[in-house]
């Protein structure tokens, strides 16, 4: 026990004295959260939109004037047909279109209800969301004004269409993604590098000749990264709750438990990489190319897995981050309990066990 304590203490010295490591450990998650957070909260200013007015009546023109007066929007031009709408969206400059149907005023006065169509370029989900919210509120405003003066209340319903990305996947869910990425980086890459570094400098040999058991050496090296990962998770969660107002809907306890499981998965992977390699550069390359890239591409964080070709969908199943991402999303955003994520947890646990067993086996072979 004392051996272990001595070792872990030494390991913390290594981490705390290396500014580069510290920077990656703590700077990166904060930077990522802030970057994504900033993107989320960015204000819409002078967004270019178009107004398609088939009605050309008083109501439609009054609403158009209100939109044009707003500092959020820069009304570019007025087009006449649906085909033209398609074309300007494809140019990519126009972020939204407001479409008034032909019988707008008539519907309002006769049926006390009318529809306005808001078409968004949803490739940038945050922007699309925000623009649609602003436009809707301008229309609501107008409606309220009219209702005070007018004899009978009537209703204008904005009908919103999100182009290109109807489900709005991605952005609100970035926190689980960042958590997975940070854990991968810290646990896989940092652990692999830390262990390989001992091999490179020759200290591993000295450790193996010491009475310390080899498994213990590896175990002790992993402990600080487990601790640091938990600190990182807490930091990310605090930032997302207090800075980004993204509440944790499910159980925090369950979330931390699942995170620990994923941390152990990553540590086993890091250890496996470190056993197979003998230079820090190789360890880093394998961690980055072999782990980070597939995770970015295939975990569902960046790109929806459902839209991928079948072979990629199959491959994505062996990416541990995919399962962790699903679990965290379910717990944090949907507020799911353990019974909703037990299958994913089981898969993740299975992958972890597999990595762990391979590591142990390979490690014994290496010792020979």
């Amino acid at each position: 026990m004392k051996q272990l304590f001595t070792f872990v203490k030494k390991e913390f010295y290594h981490v705390l004295r290396d500014k580069k490591v510290l920077f990656i450990l703590f700077g990166m998650p904060i930077a990522q959260i802030l970057l994504f957070g900033f993107a989320l909260s960015s204000e819409v200013k002078d967004s270019r939109i178009i107004i398609v007015d088939y009605a050309k009546d008083i109501a439609s023109q009054q609403i158009s004037a209100k939109i044009e007066a707003s500092r959020y929007f820069d009304v570019q031009k007025t087009v006449q047909t649906h085909q033209q709408i398609e074309d300007v969206f494809k140019e990519g400059v126009i972020k939204a279109a407001v479409v008034f149907p032909e019988d707008f005023m008539e519907n309002l006065s006769r049926q006390k209800t009318a529809q306005v169509q808001l078409i968004m370029d949803a490739t940038d989900i945050n922007l699309a969301n925000q623009i649609s919210n602003y436009l809707s509120s301008i229309i609501r405003d107008y409606q309220q004004e009219q209702n005070i003066t007018g004899a009978l209340p009537y209703q204008i319903t904005p009908e919103i269409r999100m182009l290109y990305n109807p489900q709005l996947r991605g952005a609100p869910n970035f926190v689980p993604g960042v958590m997975a990425m940070v854990l991968l980086l810290v646990c896989v890459m940092m652990t692999a590098i830390a262990i390989v570094k001992e091999k490179e400098t020759g200290t591993m040999e000295v450790l193996l000749v010491s009475p310390m058991r080899p498994a213990m050496v590896i175990f002790s090296k992993a402990i600080p990264y487990l601790a640091l990962s938990i600190v990182n998770i807490c930091a990310i969660l605090l930032l997302s709750v207090f800075l980004l107002d993204l509440p944790i809907k499910g159980s925090l306890f369950l979330l931390m438990g699942e995170s620990c499981l994923f941390i152990i998965t990553c540590l086993s992977l890091g250890i496996l990489i470190s056993i197979q390699t003998s230079s820090q550069q190789v360890a880093m390359l394998i961690s980055l190319m072999g782990m980070m890239l597939p995770t970015l591409l295939l975990s569902g964080f960046m790109f929806p897995i459902e839209n991928m070709p079948i072979p990629l969908q199959v491959i994505s199943n062996i990416i541990p981050a995919k399962w962790y991402y699903i679990i965290v999303k379910d717990i944090m955003i949907k507020g799911a309990g353990f019974f909703a994520v037990w299958k994913e947890t089981l898969v993740l646990a299975g992958i972890t066990l597999l990595f762990f067993l391979i590591s142990v086996k390979r490690f014994k072979i290496r010792l020979e």
């Binding site: 070792f7 004295r17 400098t201 040999e205 000295v206 000749v209 009475p211 020979e368």
Partner: protein, 247 residues
């Protein structure tokens, strides 16, 4: 010299597939002795040493280190030996004191023992001023001496030195050997591999390995007489010339 045997190897053999790195090596090392283990690159020195340190299981033959069997009692062996590898093997980002505390700790020394012995050692090496500095700030010669001191810090029965003086100037090498003599005087057996033939002269006895077998084993004086040579250099040259293996 006492005749207590601390390392005993009998027909110790290590094969890697069809390649026999160490072939039926037999020798004894006595307590407090400085035993030089010489050989060209690839002659099988390191393999033999790894087997004695418990890092590698022999393919055949027997050996005991500090009275413990290299097959079954490697854990016991590890408690009784010190080791210094050819690469500099202290932690550069730790201070001298922290390195001592770490290595003392993993060998199970108590905190108070570590404290008093660190103080003693640092004074002995004249490193009081540097004690709280990171090891990476020390010159190579100091590092090497420190590495040796760390290897014998827990008072092992035997210390294995794998080409300990590589890349060090002759003056520092001489100082390094003073430390080795001190350790030997205090009863620690020193098992050292080296390339430098002047260092071979400092050893009580040397064995010279060629192609995985021990070609000669005696005191430097006797070896020189036997091979009618003026220096160990010549002895080594006569033996190594016949080698079939090279790096």
């Amino acid at each position: 010299m006492q005749e207590e045997v601390v390392i005993k190897a009998e027909k110790l053999t290590k094969r890697f597939g069809a390649f026999t790195a160490t072939n039926e090596v037999t020798f004894e090392v006595h307590k407090g002795e400085i035993f030089g283990f010489l050989g060209a690159n690839g002659a099988g020195k390191t393999t033999a040493m790894r087997m004695l340190c418990g890092l590698s299981i022999p393919s055949a033959g027997n050996a005991t280190v500090a009275g413990f069997d290299v097959y079954k009692e490697t854990e016991q062996i590890k408690k009784n030996i010190g080791y210094m590898s050819q690469k500099f093997s202290l932690y550069e980002d730790l201070t001298i004191e922290e390195n001592l505390a770490f290595f003392g700790g993993i060998y199970g020394m108590s905190d108070s023992e570590i404290k008093t012995k660190s103080k003693q050692l640092i004074e002995q090496l004249g490193l009081q001023k540097e004690a709280k500095k990171l090891v990476q700030e020390l010159p190579l010669g100091w590092k090497q001496k420190l590495a040796f001191s760390v290897a014998v810090f827990h008072r092992p029965k035997i210390v294995f030195l794998d080409e300990p003086t590589g890349g060090v100037d002759p003056v520092t090498r001489r100082q390094f050997w003073d430390l080795i003599y001190d350790a030997s005087d205090s009863g620690i057996t020193v098992f050292v591999t080296t390339h430098y033939m002047d260092e071979a002269e400092y050893c009580n006895r040397v064995s010279i390995m060629v192609d995985g077998v021990i070609a000669a084993l005696d005191t430097p004086h006797n070896l020189k007489q036997q091979f009618k040579a003026n220096s160990m250099d010549e002895v080594f040259y006569q033996l190594a010339r016949g080698a079939k293996r090279s790096e």
